[in-house]
């Protein structure tokens, strides 16, 4: 039995792109002008879509510069990160001394009015 136009047209995009065409689809296409027109439209549309990859937009100049500078920026960030990692003990100790100092100062200030 011949396939209906609706059934054939459901398959047409995949038929064009992936070559999924059974004998019954091809038989229908050989007889049906409307479906052949639809096939031509899909062929043209999909070929045009493929060609769009080469049609590129104008890139903002600042973006290009920023992309080129990624290794430098990333390198600077990495060196800060690795410096902090390597000297973590020193930074933690320093921070602890600062916190202890601040706590001591607050405690000392809080005690002062009571002794006066």
């Amino acid at each position: 039995m011949d396939m209906s136009c609706a059934a054939v047209r459901e398959i047409l995009p995949a038929y064009v792109r992936e070559g999924d065409g059974s004998l019954s689809v091809r038989r229908h296409l050989s007889r049906c002008t409307d479906c052949r027109t639809d096939l031509t439209h899909y062929e043209e549309m999909l070929a045009s879509l493929s060609a769009m990859e080469a049609a590129t937009a104008q890139v903002p100049l600042a973006l290009r510069t920023s992309l080129v500078n990624i290794p430098t920026r990333s390198g600077r960030l990495e060196s800060v990160r690795s410096h902090v990692t390597q000297n973590r003990k020193a930074y933690v100790s320093g921070a602890a001394v600062l916190v202890a100092g601040a706590v001591g100062a607050v405690a000392w200030k809080a005690r002062k009015p009571a002794t006066a």
Partner: protein, 185 residues
């Protein structure tokens, strides 16, 4: 894009990186623009994509083409951005016009000229295609990503990806060929 150039980038050669950016950034920016339809968002996504690519380069084993890998990174970044900015959706026709003027302004359309549909007509039709169909069609039919890759990027099943591509193509065809023969039921 030669494997030697990619290898040089992996070794941290900054001059090679400049060449790589020069050879690919127009395509990557345009891919982001086609998904996001906003030049500022596209520029931001492109920047994030290249930063990710630079950090992940060491893991690139060369089993896929480098540009395909880069498109995958860019698509992933643009789609994530698209999800997070859904709150400030712009009127699609207006945004599409801005994108169109950008692509028409700097477009290297020589290879597209051989096909009969104008790039501007395609861009206009893509601009009014619902977001979920547009991303799927652009990734499949413009950038040649596989169904599997598209499903992963869009976080949907392969069947859902196929359905989106199919429906998107159908809608696009209806817009581009309004006089196309009507389907018999």
């Amino acid at each position: 894009m030669t494997p030697e150039l990619v290898e040089a980038c992996k070794a941290g050669d900054e001059a090679a990186w400049t060449q790589l950016v020069e050879a690919t950034h127009r395509e990557v920016y345009t891919l982001c623009l086609r998904i996001l339809r906003d030049p500022d968002d596209a520029a931001e996504a492109t920047q994030d994509a290249y930063l990710k690519a630079w950090r992940a380069l060491k893991g690139f084993r060369g089993d896929a083409m480098f540009t395909t890998w880069l498109y995958r990174v860019a698509a992933n970044t643009a789609i994530s951005k698209h999800r997070s900015r859904k709150r400030r959706r712009t009127h699609e026709t207006g945004v599409g016009d801005e994108v169109l003027s950008q692509i028409a302004g700097g477009g290297s359309t020589e290879s597209a000229a051989s096909s009969r549909l104008e790039v501007q007509d395609l861009e206009r039709a893509l601009a009014v295609l619902p977001d979920h169909y547009r991303s799927a069609v652009v990734l499949r039919d413009v950038y040649g990503l596989s169904i599997d890759e598209i499903a992963t990027q869009l976080k949907i099943s392969q069947t859902a990806a196929k359905v989106r591509i199919h429906r998107g193509r159908k809608k696009l065809k209806e817009m581009l060929y309004p006089d196309s023969p009507r389907e018999e039921v």
